[in-house]
């Protein structure tokens, strides 16, 4: 399968040539795609959500950069509430959030399917007001699940998608289609009708449509939605493979485990707001650790902990726990032993990703109720 790779690379080179020609042939325009953002754009950006807390964000290093991007539906609902996404080039960015938190709407805005009510964004450095169509060929997308013609085969469906691309290389289309099918493991089922595909095959065909040509950015919206564990694993390894080729991957999901295993960066959405953005390590280091002591005398243990100055002490049947704060656990152990509290077990608990997620996005209605 080296031929399609070569063809793909040639396609990418040719594309750059065309870009050069176009940009050199035009008079410089102060409002062009390549103009640096004006100082006015810097205001109104909440500093808390910027990666590393840099007040001056350089959007040219970002695959996706949004500024106060907002979308209000006709019913008045603010589906996307002034979010400032910063997706670094080369990252695998997990876009997390419960169902209905505005992830898909954000993706629709980024791809030009919807028009924002407020704010601006850049996709691979390009300003959509100068026309998204110039940059979209470099972006592969799977939005809200796969959508194809049920009466056509997988191969015919990909041919249809490729035919819509006015910058695709027509001569290499059959080779590129087969290569994309091969990458997602659908070559054997290529001539089956889409209607007869399983859910996993449909999802994979959706990803294959994004792989018809080399991309600089892949936007995958819930690519594992409704898949069984095997299907989920297949998609996960596919995403890893795409990222390994140097493509920036922006993948939305409500599944934490998935994001944890493949992502370098995460953004967490909750009711339209971006409540966290940063590296996965950054997310993990959030949240307060607790100490938990197993003991036959929880009441006395609790007294000792209170004397040390620990807070949020809760006692259960045979254990006590408290917010750890900055206290070294080994010192706590020494104090307990010194006070003759029988310590059967002692552990510090870091909040799980799920705890952090729930903390950021709120309990589900049936949990908090």
């Amino acid at each position: 399968m080296t031929l399609p790779h070569k063809l793909a690379r040639a396609g990418r080179l040719a594309r750059q040539d065309v870009t050069d020609v176009v940009s050199s042939g035009q008079a410089p325009d102060p409002l062009s795609v390549f103009a640096p953002p004006g100082p006015g754009l810097q205001t109104g950006v909440p500093p808390g959500v910027q990666p590393g807390g840099h007040p001056q964000r350089d959007d040219t290093d970002l695959a996706i950069a949004t500024r106060a991007l907002a979308m209000r539906f006709r019913g008045g609902q603010l589906a996307v509430d002034h979010i400032d996404l910063a997706v670094p080039l080369g990252s695998v960015y997990g876009f997390l959030g419960p169902n209905g938190s505005g992830k898909t709407t954000t993706i629709r805005l980024l791809l030009g399917l919807m028009h924002p009510t407020f704010g601006s964004f850049r996709l691979l450095g390009a300003d959509p007001r100068a026309g998204l169509d110039a940059v979209l060929p470099r972006v592969g997308a799977l939005v809200e699940g796969p959508a194809f013609y049920p009466f056509l085969s997988g191969r015919q469906n990909l041919a249809r998608v490729d035919a819509a691309d006015r910058t695709a290389d027509i001569g290499t289309a059959p080779a590129r289609i087969d290569h994309a099918l091969d990458q997602v493991g659908l070559l054997a089922a290529a001539d089956k009708r889409y209607r007869a595909y399983s859910l996993g095959m449909k999802q994979r065909l959706g990803i294959a449509a994004g792989l018809l040509r080399p991309r600089d950015l892949m936007i995958l919206d819930e690519p594992t939605n409704g898949l069984d564990p095997q299907g989920t694993r297949e998609i996960r390894s596919l995403v890893k493979q795409i990222a390994a080729d140097g493509t920036t991957v922006f993948v939305s999901s409500h599944l934490l485990a998935e994001v944890e295993q493949i992502c370098s960066h995460v953004g967490v959405m909750s009711t339209g707001k971006l409540v966290f953005q940063g590296t996965l390590t950054g997310l993990r280091s959030r949240g307060d650790s607790r100490i938990r002591i197993r003991t036959t005398e929880p009441a006395r243990a609790a007294e000792v902990l209170a004397a040390i100055g620990l807070t949020e002490i809760t006692t259960a049947d045979a254990e006590v726990s408290a917010a750890l704060g900055e206290h070294p656990p080994e010192r706590i152990n020494a104090r307990l032993v010194h006070a003759d509290v029988p310590v059967a077990g002692l552990e510090t608990i870091r909040p799980s990703l799920e705890d952090l997620f729930v903390e950021l996005t709120g309990e589900g209605f049936n949990v908090s109720g």
Partner: protein, 294 residues
């Protein structure tokens, strides 16, 4: 690939490449429409129209020259004399309901159908280009209108030739013209009916940009056709008759006179053109601004 080469090739190649890419999309669009089992069935039903009429008239041969009068009667009486009139009769009768229905289905499907199954978002993120896609859809509907009319005309001719004598054509004005001239008149009628259906198809495309339910568009288009027909039959509102979308549909009988009733034909074509332009613009405005939520 040097920069010099690229600069030298680009201006000459760009329009040609754009045309090649557009043709590829157009072919794909035609394939989607003409390979869809449901549409094929619809074309088959259209072909069945003249077959049915031919068989019925073969076994219940009308008296030559009988019927007369306006409308279908003018053709029925002539079929036994000349098979060419089976083609005209079939076009006339199918244009009352089945041809508009077929156009309503395909034009309603054009944008709303893609939105309904979600393929619209795939096409737009490729990106196919909204205006480019809409123009492709419109030309596809135009081709479909022509193909549908043509199928009725051709099958009508074949059945007419098989079941009835074929020869010089006696026009509605009483003059007789050679068969070749008669077939030329038939071809002009096919063109006229295609234009009438294309105007209806453009209305369908425009409505199709407002919804994701193709069936709603089909129903709306048929309601428009029926309402227009009813209004056209009420003489109290004669003042609006020339503005109704279906008012000139059957004016093609002017093409069967000697000399041809050009004023009637031109009025019809003008009406179709105005409807096409107005609803084409509505479709374009709407489609370029619409938020795609499916």
């Amino acid at each position: 690939m040097s920069a010099d080469n690229a600069i030298a090739l680009t201006p000459a190649r760009a329009p040609a490449a754009a045309a090649r890419h557009w043709l590829r999309l157009f072919r794909s669009e035609l394939r989607i429409v003409f390979l869809r089992p449901r549409n094929l069935l619809m074309l088959l039903v259209l072909a069945g129209g003249p077959v049915f009429l031919g068989v019925v008239l073969y076994f219940n041969t009308p008296q030559p020259g009988s019927g007369g009068g306006p409308g279908a009667g003018a053709f029925i009486g002539q079929v036994a004399d000349n098979g060419v009139f089976l083609s005209l009769l079939a076009i006339f009768l199918l244009l009352t309901l089945i041809l508009p229905l077929a156009v309503a289905v395909v034009s309603g499907e054009s944008v709303a159908g893609e939105a309904g199954i979600g393929t619209l978002r795939t096409l737009l993120t490729v990106p196919a280009g909204r205006t480019r896609l809409l123009v492709t859809k419109w030309l596809m509907v135009l081709v479909f209108c022509f193909a549908a009319t043509m199928i009725v005309a051709i099958v009508g001719l074949v059945m007419g030739a098989l079941l009835f004598p074929i020869g010089p054509v006696t026009l509605l004005s009483g003059n007789t013209v050679p068969l070749a001239a008669g077939l030329l008149r038939l071809a002009m009628i096919v063109g006229y009916v295609t234009a009438a259906l294309a105007a209806l198809g453009t209305i369908g495309i425009a409505l199709s940009t407002f919804t994701q339910h193709a069936i709603a568009v089909m129903a709306a288009v048929l309601v428009i056709v029926t309402a227009s027909d009813i209004a056209d039959a009420v003489s109290q509102v004669a003042v609006i008759h020339p503005y109704l979308p279906t008012h000139f549909w059957f004016s093609f009988d002017a093409l069967l006179r000697m000399p041809i009733g050009w004023p009637d034909v031109m009025h019809g074509l003008e009406s179709f053109a105005v409807y096409t332009v107005i609803f084409g613009l509505i479709a374009w405005f709407r489609f370029n601004r619409a938020d795609v939520t499916t």
